[in-house]
Symmetry: C2
Subunit: 338 residues, 2 copies
């Protein structure tokens, strides 16, 4: 199988490991932002952000070599974040047409022109004629790249194509669960980043006050899973998907390590939201959960019914108030628990 | 309301804070093991294991003063661990008769004489004529004692008595959710300690290998919740209880801090199970999850049907094999994920 991975950042590059281990012809294309990475990889050096070197069989392509990179590709991995996906799709034009399936690691929502919010896979599907597989589940890229045990979920209603993707990617250390519930995986994958901010805030309170706040943080966890399940259900997905790898499991990783937790921690210690977001952005870190909280809140508003967002999605509503209205963090989070 | 807390360890003593804050007449009785604590508290010193001093209004009683401690008690809190509950019940004789309700913080199962395994509240209920309320949810005792936000769940089928307990304990910082699903709370509260060992093992692998194992640990989380829900369901409880404070939320705390996680970590780093258990026990630390894994596995065997425990409860089965048969930790855990 010929597989082209678009985006030589951490997660895109990491996926070269299982696919190359299965003996496929793997090509990795770097966007303009990945020039330094491409140069390092071509010089046989370790991936600058990922740690380990790539498998030797992987061929690396620079930005200008997009046509060569995609030549004959049967499976294409969109290995860019939700912030990178629009520019990369624009750059690709109709080059994705012809692939058997597109897999995407981006987590988030897209705002369509009429203001409607939709899963990112819908956006991708518009630009190609292949089915778009969503990838969810706890996968710290460096662990995938070094071959430490990782279990993920691939989602697509089309079972035959899903099976092909499964067989192409699964290795003894990279286990691929499959589900038809693409919506559930997408909602969970996007929203767990938002809820990780909320739980990160509880950690920040701990740092700010010097007093442990484990009980508060833990109490927020099942609320996060419940609200993600409610949102998935409202959008046509399934609660059990959210309770699994793409939701609860990935939330466990995201609250243990990661940018979204870091943003929450900063807010919890008293850094104003705007300042925290700018400071992370200036260090090159875009916060997917921040955008997901806003998009998720707008979606939830549409589904909430009479009780409003605060009734059906109290934690998301509290998070939104903290992020956008400067609501006091400790009181607002705690009020959501009640 | 007159409330007597039996057991002056961390959790028993911590519950003096919300009840005293509500203006109740709170009495704390220390078992023979609590002599040093009782002496310190009577001298006006901070609780030696809990940190803060108790509220001034709380009256402290030593082991010999059990009758005075229980005199006129309307609510009784059994504040001892699952290991302490049998000896304390034996010591109490029929002194619990007369209370309006007994609340218990112990998490675990009891082995009845005929070898049948049952929730601890059944054991307690045998010794008194009052309803027995199970307490679940993430509550690190020091946070409860210092008045940091904590949300717990009280469980009892009898709604009127449950309401009395709720109103007696709930404060602005100690929030009490209520449920009729006592079985669900008990299974979750007991089994989360067992599953925390499994997730702790993944942390130990991280220490042993120097390579992060976040993905494996996270993948185990939803399996733990799913298996606890299955066991609760088989015993007449409800899956949504397990997904809430007593299960998923408390598991988040238990894998972040606590003895059960520590045991897992030791096993993951390669310490033989027996040695790890003995070493913790000799430091005065009994591991509730170790006993719960054994009891839970026996229960699961009874419910598993044709596929066996490994089919319906793969993670519990793997944990059991590691704890009792010396199965290789990394391979055994990972095989359970598949």
């Amino acid at each position: 199988m010929r597989i082209t991975i678009l985006g030589a950042g951490e997660m895109g590059s990491a996926l070269a490991t299982p696919t190359a281990a299965n003996g496929h012809d793997v090509r990795l294309w770097g966007t303009g932002r990945d020039d330094a990475i491409v140069a390092a990889l071509r010089a046989g050096q370790p991936h600058p952000r990922l740690g380990p070197a790539l498998p030797r069989a992987v061929r690396v392509f620079g930005e200008a070599e997009i046509d060569a990179a995609l030549d004959g590709a049967e499976l294409v991995v969109l290995g860019v974040t939700s912030f990178g996906i629009n520019p990369v799709l624009a750059q690709l034009g109709d080059r994705l047409r012809g692939a058997r399936a597109i897999l995407t690691v981006a987590k988030g929502f897209d705002e369509a022109e009429e203001g409607q919010i939709r899963p990112l896979t819908d956006l991708v599907a518009e630009r190609c004629d292949a089915p778009v597989v969503g990838i969810g589940g706890p996968s710290i890229a460096s662990e995938v790249a070094t071959g430490h045990p990782t279990a993920v979920v691939f989602a697509l209603p089309d079972a035959a194509t899903l099976r092909v993707c499964h067989d192409t990617f699964e290795t003894p250390v990279y286990r691929v669960e499959t589900t038809s519930d693409l919506v559930g995986v997408e909602v969970a994958a996007a929203m767990k980043n938002a809820y990780a901010i909320a739980l990160g805030i509880a950690e920040g309170l701990q740092i700010a006050t010097g007093a442990s706040h484990h009980n508060l943080r833990a109490a927020l966890f099942p609320m996060a899973v419940r609200e993600m399940a409610r949102l998935a259900d409202a959008m046509g997905g399934r609660a059990e998907t959210v309770a699994g790898l793409a939701g609860a499991a990935d939330l466990v990783v995201t609250i243990t390590a990661g940018r979204n937790r870091t943003l929450g921690e900063m807010i919890g210690t008293g850094v104003p939201v705007g300042e925290a977001v700018r400071s992370l952005a200036s260090a090159g870190t875009m916060i997917e959960g921040y955008a997901a909280a806003e998009a998720g809140h707008r979606l939830a508003r549409g589904f909430a019914g009479k009780g409003g967002v605060g009734g059906a999605y109290p934690l998301l509503h509290a998070l939104h108030a903290i992020l956008t209205e400067g609501a006091p963090v400790s009181e607002t989070l705690w009020a959501a628990v009640g």
